[in-house]
């Protein structure tokens, strides 16, 4: 039993923190927020130079061949800095192809995802906003050698910059996962303005899009979709943990510096106790999240429950931490100029992404046989 990180993982954390601090400080993040799609090509190129898009891609396909525990170490750091980059999305698309794709598909798509020249994402949700198999209604009509897709995927992360979509669709009452490139005829995607401007989202429309049978993931049925959604929940939770950590750090520092009634406000229990609660929630979220990441390969049967617990708990915790972070700052926290508000906005995005707390607690109850 060892609930600790390896030396290599500690090094990855140090490198990642330094990169985020130096290459993408808040001034840079704020610049990227101005552009719709929250995407900056030169930043993404720097990230690709570090090999992060291919962190969990096998070495034979040009990746670093690391695992989910390594990835969440990195995502904690990108979450801390609210780094705007399609890192989670690309990792999930690469996971879909790695775990459920054919050798041909791996050879064709993984190297470009790993080196950052391609950006991938999952395009799962539709107008119903129902997460999982029940929400997949996009029809795939059988044609010679494949399917034709007509419909819209909504709330797709990084829809604007993405060049490759993993698209669940319904044909003959079964779910399949298609690899659809943004350049395919009939695909249109557009970034939308988002509440959290560091996160990119948009809708993707498919108009008579031809998906050859060679572009359908051979093992990509409903269980594959479920596993990808569990891993997505873990990835978002990892960024939440990083963001909560930074939110607590900023707010604690403010409580030490800010003087009212001749005292640092952090001396008052009305300020001190909410900060302590933030710490309790943060560390418990972190424990739940790391165990879920370990389950990805260490105990795959336990992943659904572990992911649901982590996302449910951290989602609720971050919502409160986001609010308390602003509230403990007082009026200054409400200004656009102060960074703490960006963490509040991130909490609103991340708590909903890949299932909110209510959704995941209902899953915890069901999976527990309650």
């Amino acid at each position: 039993m060892n609930f600790g990180l390896t030396e290599e993982q500690e090094v990855l954390r140090t490198v990642a923190r330094r990169f985020v601090d130096e290459r993408a400080p808040m001034s840079v993040v704020r610049g990227i927020m101005e552009s719709p799609g929250a995407f900056d090509e030169s930043l993404w190129a720097s990230i690709a130079d570090l090999g992060w898009p291919g962190l969990i891609v096998a070495e034979e396909y040009g990746g670093a061949g690391l695992g989910w525990v390594d990835l969440v170490v990195l995502l904690e750091e990108t979450g801390r800095g609210l780094l705007p980059a399609p890192l989670i999305s690309t990792s999930l698309a690469a996971t879909a192809i790695s775990e459920f794709g054919s050798d041909d598909q791996k050879t064709r798509f993984l190297p470009s995802l790993a080196n950052g020249s391609a950006i991938g994402t999952l395009a799962v949700l539709e107008g119903s906003d129902v997460l999982g198999a029940k929400g997949v209604a996009l029809p795939g009509v059988s044609t010679d050698g494949g399917y034709r897709l007509n419909g819209t995927k909504r709330f797709v992360h990084d829809a604007g910059p993405a060049s490759l979509f993993i698209v669940p669709f319904l044909a003959n009452a079964t779910i399949s996962l298609a690899i659809v490139e943004s350049t395919a005829g009939g695909v249109t995607s557009a970034s939308r303005r988002t509440m959290d401007e560091t996160k990119s989202m948009g809708d993707v429309t498919f108009e008579d899009v031809l998906v050859s049978s060679g572009s359908v993931l051979p093992s990509g049925g409903e269980p594959a979709l479920n596993r990808l959604l569990d891993l997505a929940a873990v990835a978002v939770t990892a960024e939440m943990v990083g963001a909560m950590d930074r939110d607590l750090e900023i707010t604690t520092q403010y409580a030490k510096d800010r003087i009212q009634f001749d005292q640092p406000i952090g001396r008052y229990q009305g300020v001190k106790h909410p900060l302590a609660e933030m710490y309790v929630d943060l560390e418990t979220s972190r424990s739940l999240m790391y165990y879920a990441a370990w389950c990805a390969t260490g105990a795959p049967d336990d992943l659904p429950r572990a992911a649901a617990r982590a996302k449910a708990f951290a989602g609720e915790a971050f919502m409160r931490i986001g609010i308390d972070g602003v509230q403990l700052h007082g009026a200054i926290g409400f200004t656009a100029e102060y960074d703490i508000q960006l963490y509040l906005k991130r909490s609103k995005w991340a708590s909903i992404a890949y299932g909110d707390t209510d959704y995941h607690y209902q899953r915890v109850a069901t999976l527990g046989g309650y």
């Binding site: 609930f3 600790g4 030490k256 106790h273 309790v280 739940l288 309650y370």
Partner: protein, 387 residues
């Protein structure tokens, strides 16, 4: 990161499982001498005081095996490994760290054999959360201390043979944590009076204890004179690790789930009510969070690092669950929860849920209130100024 057990650890777990399978079978439990047989059997295994040094009768076991033992015992719904609860939890560890050779030889075997009960004389009427402000006075007189003062909230005082007592031997200190001395006192010493206090759940586990010119031999001092605070701190830190509580919480939650499944609410089992399900899932998740927090602490201990105040995290979760699981049971049972007497065979043990819903202060307040835990986290971990 690896959550699997080593082959040696698995072998130990299997040994414990086989043992409890044999000694806790339904047939074994029917035996009128079941408890005595059980206590003797675990004692022979040296599983009582499993991590205490072998030379004093303990098991000399490692941290990981200790956790496995506790988990398996809780999972099997095993009776405690001894009946001297305070002795095993608080007094023994403090004796091992601060006791003289004579004290260890005198007290540790008796605690392991559960020969008698211990109680802890810490809180006073004027010193609760601010424990270090205590005023119970001990004055040296030759080879004895003479104790005068009062303790309160002393659990088990009326049936304990010994008390581990915090006294003040120096009133002139600048820092109130100095000048405190820890004494081990026999409860039948002349000058001690115990007055039980009835709690809101209806029982009288705690009491006031009065000391009037009670004479205590100097050899019964634990640790140095004036250094008693360190003894307390070590004992409290021991109590906050919380790992062993998780298996117990899992079985408590399972009881509430079973209650929800067999109780009708709005024409369907309460377990199908989304509000109830969400509360069950949240309790489940916090228990799992405690388990994993405990494993993170355990990893630190296994690496030889000292545990610090992070154990306050699980103490706060424990406080939440102590209240929530009781209240959740009341929400499931509904109006019938208000009857405190069992209404017949068909009914659940309603009185049990009531004591669950009212018994939480022992867990939530004992060993430091939630607000004290928050102070500890804010000041020692986050580095906020002391208030």
């Amino acid at each position: 990161m690896d959550f699997d057990l080593t082959p040696e650890e698995e072998a130990f777990r299997d040994e414990v499982r086989a043992f409890v399978g044999q000694h806790l079978s339904p047939e074994a439990r029917k035996d009128p001498n079941f408890l005595a047989t059980w206590l003797r059997a675990v004692r022979e295994k040296r599983w009582v005081g499993f991590n205490w040094p072998a030379e004093y009768g303990g098991g000399g076991g490692g941290i990981m095996e200790q956790v496995i033992l506790k988990e398996e015992m809780s999972r099997a719904g095993a009776p405690p490994l001894g009946t001297s609860m305070m002795g095993l939890q608080w007094v023994g560890p403090a004796l091992i760290e601060y006791g003289t050779e004579e004290q260890k030889r005198k007290f540790l075997p008796d605690i392991l054999d559960s020969k008698y009960q211990w109680c802890t004389g810490y809180s006073e009427p004027g010193s609760g959360s601010d424990l270090a402000s205590l005023q119970c006075r001990a004055v040296r007189d030759g080879d004895e201390y003479v104790v005068n003062g009062q303790k309160i909230w002393t659990s088990g005082a009326s049936f304990s043979k010994w008390i581990i007592l915090l006294t003040r031997t120096d009133f002139g200190v600048a820092n109130k944590h100095d000048g405190i001395t820890c004494l081990l006192v026999e409860m039948d010493s002349p000058g001690i009076e115990v007055r039980p206090i009835k709690n809101m759940a209806g029982s009288s586990h705690f009491a006031e204890v009065f000391f009037e010119d009670v004479r205590v031999p100097v050899e019964n001092r634990l640790g140095e004179e004036g250094k008693g605070w360190a003894v307390t701190v070590s004992a409290l830190a021991h109590e906050r690790s919380g790992i062993s509580e998780v298996a117990g919480l899992i079985s408590q939650l399972a009881q509430v789930v079973a209650l929800a499944k067999r109780t009708q609410k709005n024409g369907r089992p309460a377990s199908e009510d989304p509000g109830i399900r969400r509360r069950l899932a949240k309790a489940d998740t916090i228990i799992e969070g405690m388990r994993l927090n405990g494993q993170r602490s355990l990893t630190k201990q296994l690496k030889g690092e000292k545990l610090s105040s992070e154990t306050s995290i699980n103490k706060l979760h424990r406080a939440f669950l102590a209240i929530e699981l009781g209240d959740l049971a009341l929400a499931i049972v509904g109006s019938a929860s208000q009857y405190t007497e069992k209404m017949g065979e068909a009914d659940d043990d309603l009185g049990g849920w009531v004591s669950g819903a009212l018994g939480w202060p022992a867990v939530v307040i004992g060993g430091g209130t939630p607000n004290i835990q928050r102070n500890i986290i804010a000041e020692r971990i986050l580095g906020l100024p002391k208030d």
